[in-house]
């Protein structure tokens, strides 16, 4: 049972952790091992610069440009870098394409590996015991909880991110979007569709 209200119980649960982190940070700063401005810069980068809007642009570009889609197949890291996205936890990218016959979904059962440059940091559910344990053994049950029911004729492929290779799902382009600009198409792409827990 989770409780996302910041009520007394939850804040006192973490007050000890808060103190530990504060003490650890000031100890490391005092020793000259950590620069507090570096901490601020890192936090700002991950709160504002990286996020699913990046991946959405990759998806939209692939939808409108078949040559780009082919480059994604041949060397996803290089193709994604063309749009300016690269680096930490996305050095070795593979794009897996959804088709009418195949639905892809990504997990890291062992920890929380996730393609940061294109999706930012993962949501809590992706890192949860429930998702990590269940999606490899019961992907259809998990997808149903997300509101996605797939016919038995479709192949569900679960990608367990056990290495430094990072996976991005290329969702199918929704019907009725002909004539939309690349920017309009990117606005349709959700984070969950690029993890594989949603279709568009």
């Amino acid at each position: 049972m989770s409780d996302h209200d910041h009520d007394h119980d939850e804040s006192s649960r973490f007050s000890d952790v808060e103190l530990r982190v504060k003490a650890l940070a000031s100890l490391l700063v005092e020793k000259g091992l950590v620069n507090p401005e570096t901490l601020d810069k890192l936090i700002d980068t991950f709160e504002t610069r990286l996020g699913p809007r990046n991946g959405a642009r990759v998806v939209a570009r692939a939808w409108v440009d078949p040559a780009y889609r082919q480059r994604l197949r041949e060397d996803a890291s290089a193709a994604i870098a063309e749009l300016g996205y690269s680096g930490m936890q996305g050095e070795h990218m593979v794009v897996v394409e959804n088709t009418p016959q195949v639905h892809n979904v990504v997990v890291c059962t062992l920890c929380s590996c996730y393609p940061w440059p294109v999706l930012g940091l993962p949501p809590v559910w992706y890192k949860s015991n429930a998702y990590r344990s269940r999606v490899v053994i019961d992907p259809r049950g998990v997808l149903e909880e997300f509101g996605l029911e797939l016919s038995r004729d479709i192949e569900v492929k679960v990608w367990d991110s056990t290495s430094e290779v990072r996976y991005l799902v290329l969702p199918e382009r929704p019907a009725g979007t002909q004539g939309m600009s690349e920017e309009e198409l990117a606005a349709l792409v959700t984070r969950d569709s690029m993890i594989g827990t949603a279709k568009l």
Partner: protein
Amino acid sequence: MNGVHDMGGMHGFGPVEREEHEPVFHYRWEARTFALRQACGALGKWNIDMARHANERMPPERYLPATYYERWLSGLQRLLLESGLLTPSEVASGESERPAPTGLVAFPPEKVDAAVLTGRNYRVDAPVPAGFAVGAQVIARNINPAGATRLPRYVRGKHGIVDRDHGVFVFPDANAAGLGPKPQHLYSVRFAARELWGADAAPKDCVCLDLWEDYLDPA
């Protein structure tokens, strides 16, 4: 290690709970823990495989109910102590008892952008021959190392097919133990759901994992 972190296929954790429009960090201490982990990692006293293994070594009865960043904090503390950067009494008191080792420089803020945009290269430029061709039938080895491994228990002893050769990569089991990169081929291997979970699994479904040469035998 056969830790509780290796949870693929476990039952009992309940439904996947989701929060609409959740923030990147729910608390400032989470953001600080994340940033401390990155900044300390940049000191070069451990590698990413050692860092993951430090999280895995949290006692299981504490790991399971812990939130994600509580796990990171625990791992970070373990790394700082084991690397000798901090002593147990310093961590307990929050007060420095001796100067930091010489030659260590705090990672500067002006290098953050480049570090985040560049990352690290886990590929190794070494002429290691591939043991398996694409399409090869393989069996994941039944190994149970006490140290770090990226071979989940649910796949050990199971039959799969090599779908892709990613090339030559650092081998995490060796890297985490401080034995160097031991570069070898990394393959994407596909396992039928029925092979992993039995006859009740959906007939068309599969699970694909990235597995190193040392995890595989020919079928």
